[in-house]
């Protein structure tokens, strides 16, 4: 009891027995400074920190949402572009086939014409040749007649006869008809 009062007299700075937590003489001081600290923290948080962090978080959320939307957009555009590409490819292929078919048809027409023309020419040439051959044949027959008559006359003369040109010619013609 006596030591307690002595310690209390020495003040709280010296190691008093018991808990400093229960030394009510310091309560006023602690509560005063605590009130100031709490008000300071409240003002710091509510005036500056919390609105700022809320804004940053909202902004980030907005940015993420925008970026996702933009990505979605770009994706749609990519799909569109791919479709357009595929369509263009298919169109080009069809066009190429059409052009090829057209060209083939054109070439066929030209070819047919050329063949017909060539056939015509060949036919003309063949007719000409036939005519020439006919002429040559006729010429040759005539020559054979002459040669045969000449030969017959020469033979008749050589055998001592007197060759009658008309009779010889008739005989040759008769033979040729054979």
């Amino acid at each position: 009891m006596a030591s307690n009062t002595q310690d209390a007299a020495h003040g709280a700075a010296e190691s008093a027995p018991g808990m400093p937590q229960l030394d009510f003489s310091t309560f006023g001081n602690q509560i005063f400074w605590l009130a100031i600290a709490l008000v300071a923290i409240y003002l710091i948080l509510s005036r500056v920190a919390l609105p700022r962090i809320a804004a940053v978080l909202a902004e980030r959320q907005g940015t993420i949402t925008n970026d996702l939307a933009a990505a979605e957009d770009l994706k749609a555009k990519a799909v569109e572009a791919e479709d357009a590409y595929n369509k263009a490819l298919a169109d080009a292929r069809a066009e190429a086939q059409r052009i090829a078919a057209e060209t083939r048809a054109e070439i066929q027409v030209g070819l047919d014409e050329a063949i017909a023309k060539a056939d015509e020419q060949i036919a003309a040439k063949a007719a000409e040749s036939e005519k020439a051959i006919g002429e040559i044949k006729a010429g040759a027959l005539e020559s054979v007649k002459v040669v045969a008559a000449d030969t017959a006359e020469a033979l008749v003369t050589a055998l001592g006869g007197k060759a009658d040109a008309k009779a010889v010619a008739a005989a040759v013609a008769d033979r040729m008809k054979g």
Binding site: Q21, N29, Q30, A37, I41, L50, I53, V56, L57
Partner: protein, 266 residues
């Protein structure tokens, strides 16, 4: 295995304390000295004196400022580490308030955030060796818990009028039991600020006292001081956890009480 090691260590501490203690070295352990409030300018601890309480409260305010204001000052879309921690803390408490107290509890978010940030910073600053732990004092925690108690009670009556008393009238219980339950509920309601404040101060104080006791052993044991130093390391790790958990518990209980005030039905 861990338990066995612990008991062997404890036995060694005791034995070595008996065998190797210097003849006249009384085990001079004053685990409560660290909680003394002293004026920094000398003189008595009057209400407006600048004391170690002032210093460490001011440091807590500075730490809150550094983390929440300086940390977030760049307002970066891709946050720095400090901004990340500030945002995580914000999100953590905001979600807690929203989940526990409900949507209409969100307007109390700045107050709850103030409580959480203050207790968290004070607890962590108290873990610095030679520091003063403001939250180990019942004067501080009683004010915090009292603020919550009165705020919640006033909000409860303002929001619900007399309907707030429905909190004590358990309408789901049989009629005969309700008066008894009402008395129990009433007592538990008024015990709330007591448990709310003593839980925080008690946990913080006990941990720091244990650290100091082990530190005293370390000074007295000479060669075997490594054992209490191991113990200090382990207890310190636990205290880091407790520093956060007590801040969390205080905050979530505040949210629960707030929920009772906003929605007093059971």
């Amino acid at each position: 295995m861990g338990k066995l090691f612990f008991y062997v260590a404890l036995a060694l501490v005791v034995v070595s304390g008996v065998l190797f203690a210097p003849e006249h070295a009384a085990l001079a352990i004053h685990p409560m000295d660290q909680f003394n409030v002293a004026s920094l300018t000398g003189g008595a601890v009057s209400t407006f004196a600048i004391t170690n309480v002032t210093l460490w409260l001011a440091l807590a305010v500075v730490c809150v400022f550094l983390l929440m204001v300086v940390g977030s000052s760049r307002r970066a879309i891709v946050p720095s580490r400090a901004q990340s921690i500030a945002e995580l803390t914000y999100g953590f408490i905001y979600k807690m308030v929203e989940d526990v107290a409900g949507k209409d509890g969100v307007k109390f978010f700045p107050y709850i955030m103030t409580l959480f940030m203050f207790i968290l910073m004070a607890n962590f600053l108290g873990l610095i060796p030679m520091s003063f732990t403001t939250t180990s004092h019942i004067a501080v925690t009683a004010i915090l818990a009292g603020l919550v108690f009165f705020t919640v009670t006033i909000v409860g009556f303002v929001k619900n009028g007399v309907g707030f008393l429905g909190l004590f009238w358990v309408s789901s219980a049989p009629l005969a039991l309700r008066p008894i339950l009402a008395i129990i509920e009433l007592i538990s309601y008024f015990v709330r600020p007591v448990s709310h404040s003593i839980r925080l101060a008690g946990n913080v104080m006990a941990g720091h006292a244990v650290l100091k006791v082990f530190a005293g052993f370390a000074g007295a044991l000479g060669l075997f001081s490594f054992l209490p130093i191991f113990a200090i390391t382990a207890v310190y790790a636990l205290e880091v956890l407790v520093a956060f958990i007590q801040a969390y518990v205080f905050t979530i209980l505040t949210c629960v009480y707030l929920k009772d005030a906003l929605h007093p039905s059971h």
